[in-house]
């Protein structure tokens, strides 16, 4: 690279930094944060991939692992589903005390039938939940999660989704316990969850 090229790249870099700064200060911050976690509650009425309507109350008595996604998601969602499947396998007999719930934020494409051919492929214990746009909006508000439809010309139907990628843990009384960040290794989730189940008695 010549000295001139280096100088020119430096100019580009400075301008790019400026643009990033502008973007950061101008950006709207979604309302999903750990700090908002204390007000997280599980309140929803959604339809399971088995066609049965469920509310949060139906899962009392079990620990719930709740996470969000959509079936047209090729990267993050299968990865999280596979991690949770591993957790359920590794929990052994304790798995009976845990119900994983995959809530689709893509109400347009993910009807219960679509979830039925997708979610159980990862683990038979994971229940997919679908809803109308209004039901998904209400559920998202109770979990304080963020999702959005992102136009993407090349994607099927011309859009993809951005969404909160953490896994939410609720105790058997339905109280929010904690978030597991995206990418938390399955053994870490298993160890944490297993200790909590033991302590809970």
């Amino acid at each position: 690279m010549t000295g001139l090229q280096k100088g020119l790249w430096a100019v580009v870099a400075v301008a790019a930094l400026g643009a990033v700064g502008l973007a950061l200060f101008g950006a709207r911050t979604p309302e999903v944060t750990e700090s908002a976690a204390s007000s997280v509650v599980a309140e929803f009425e959604l339809t399971g991939h088995d066609g049965v309507v469920r509310t949060a109350e139906d899962f009392r008595g079990q620990w719930s692992l709740v996470f969000f996604g959509f079936t047209n998601c090729p990267d993050i969602c299968p990865t999280t589903l596979a991690e949770i499947a591993q957790v359920m396998d590794d929990l052994g007999p304790q798995a009976d005390a845990v119900q994983p719930l995959f809530i689709s934020v893509d109400s347009e494409r993910d009807r219960p039938e679509a979830l039925a051919e997708y979610v159980p492929q990862f683990h038979p214990s994971i229940l997919g939940l679908a809803g109308t746009p209004e039901q998904i909006e209400a559920a998202a508000a109770s979990f304080k999660i963020f999702y959005e439809r992102v136009p993407e010309e090349a994607a099927p139907d011309g859009y993809t989704m951005g969404h909160t990628s953490q896994v939410f843990l609720f105790d058997p009384e339905g109280a929010f316990v904690r978030l597991y960040g995206y990418g938390t290794p399955a053994p870490d989730i298993t160890a944490d969850l297993s200790a909590r189940i033991d302590a809970h008695g």
Binding site: V14, P30, P74, I76, P78, E152, G162
Partner: protein, 152 residues
């Protein structure tokens, strides 16, 4: 917006400068894998590592496979609030001597408009096209839908 105008001028000058030798022929593709799909209506995914053994940067500018009409590289990003999004990458540079990993939750090949279902146990050929016109092909094994990494 004077700095931006200067940047545009700088980029124009860079574009006009003699092209760097991009060493697409020196890129080694390893640990390629895909997940099985259900039918053809949803996009498929492929992961791999790209190691540039040359002394010049290599830039991936395109992908080809008979499995999908529109294979493209996407980057998944997760912000401080834990919200993930995907962005289309027009090109991916692999610096000389460096390795770029396409892995879950990060860069990945998105296989849009599948021409046939991706069946566990089968494989397909994926070609990477580089800025210098070089091409590198890899046979990608299709693992189970819940696979989390390349086969041992």
């Amino acid at each position: 917006m004077r700095p931006f105008a200067t940047a545009v001028l700088a980029l124009a000058l860079l574009a006009a400068a003699p092209p760097l030798l991009a060493g697409g022929d020196d890129v080694v593709i390893e640990d390629a894998w895909s997940r099985a799909s259900i039918g053809t209506s949803r996009p498929g995914v492929a992961y791999m590592t790209l190691r540039n053994e040359g002394t010049e940067p290599a830039v991936v500018t395109g992908l080809r496979t008979d499995l999908a009409v529109m294979p493209m590289i996407h980057a998944t990003t997760t912000d401080a609030q834990g919200v993930t999004r995907m962005a289309h990458m027009e090109e991916v540079e692999i610096a000389a001597g460096e390795t770029v990993a396409l892995e879950p939750g990060s860069l990945h090949v998105m296989l849009m408009d599948l021409q046939r279902p991706m069946v566990e146990g089968e494989s397909y050929t994926l070609s990477l096209v580089f800025a210098d016109g070089a091409e590198a092909s890899v046979e990608v094994p299709i693992l189970g839908m819940a696979a989390r990494g390349p086969a041992e």
